[in-house]
Symmetry: C2
Subunit: 203 residues, 2 copies
């Protein structure tokens, strides 16, 4: 394939993946048909089928691809944090992570996960992706928080933070829960900081 053709092919895939997540977020699993996704991406059905023969392949690639892109964006945003006070930095990082669990990518992923619960083929295909994304998100959180997982209790505290954020994402599905979430994360930040201090003390 010639270089310009490869470039066009890459751009087509990119538009399909963006459109897939947007359709899942706006119309849910049952509403995000391949026809609607192709329309939204401005891509012909033929080109769509050439790149992604099945809806499941398209949807899973979309969630994985955009999770990686979102992780890269989060790393870039975290790198610009100028706060030198550790508590303030922790606040900002938790807010960045919380945003990742309330945005379109989270609801798109949740649509996929809930659909896979009662669809055996989709579930089997999704399990390796769930493992990869889970590991990547944990690694991202450890890096952004700047914590040392070799200290006792730190790994569990990071896990609990991510499970808490996952739950806050569910609490935000139907209504804007941002005020309650901000208060709760302020309390959680203190807990988390206390736990890190305890972990350091037990060295």
């Amino acid at each position: 394939m010639s270089a310009p053709k490869q470039e066009r092919s890459r751009a087509t895939r990119q538009r399909l993946l963006d459109a897939t997540v947007a359709c899942l977020a706006d119309h849910g699993w049952s509403g995000a048909t391949t026809t609607l996704i192709a329309e939204r991406a401005g891509v012909s059905r033929g080109a769509q089928l050439h790149h992604y023969p099945t809806r499941a392949a398209l949807v899973m690639d979309a969630v994985e691809h955009l999770a990686h892109r979102r992780a890269a964006e989060l790393r870039a945003e975290a790198a610009t944090l100028t706060a030198t006070d550790p508590d303030e930095r922790l606040d900002r990082v938790l807010a960045l992570l919380a945003a990742a669990f309330t945005g379109p990518l989270y609801v798109a992923a949740l649509e996929l996960w809930v659909a896979a619960r009662t669809d055996t083929d989709l579930r089997d295909a999704l399990l390796p992706l769930e493992q990869r994304l889970g590991r990547d998100m944990h690694r991202l959180a450890v890096d952004l928080l700047g914590v040392d997982e070799s200290r006792p209790g730190v790994r569990e505290a990071v896990q609990a933070s991510l499970d808490l954020l996952r739950g806050l994402g569910v609490a935000n599905l139907l209504t804007d829960d941002s005020e309650r979430r901000a208060r709760l994360l302020a309390t959680w930040r203190q807990q988390f900081a206390a736990l890190l201090t305890a972990a350091v003390r037990s060295d």
Copy 2:
């Protein structure tokens, strides 16, 4: 209506509500059709329509009714806890609550919540129920944990526990996450106990 007729009517509704949650848990929102629910309940379509003219009315009544029944069961189970050691009691109560966030009722509710995200009519109908269930679950958690919410920080700690359990329920959708969950809740129990102690100290 005569007393035996009222009793039959109540039993029919009960079977419909149980069948609705079972169908949502087993087949998801799109698979839980009114036909399938009537079949599973062993109730005629006519009787079903008499009690619940719309699928949304049936599904919401089912989730609310069974949430109340589950709450009553949790209170009864908690009343039989014989542990007098506060830490052990906290472990048991957290395990009881965690079970409520991983069982069929939680996945049925999640199916409903996710469907309502992209269905305006369903969402409008569901919002008051979400508020009621949220308040009831918070009250239940406060009672079972035996904590005093007038102490600073306690309310936020209970909320964080419920959001954490909500997130652990999502993490359990596709795979059995019980081992990791048990480890994580053991850590969380220590955090929670420390927070209660801090709240007492700040009195």
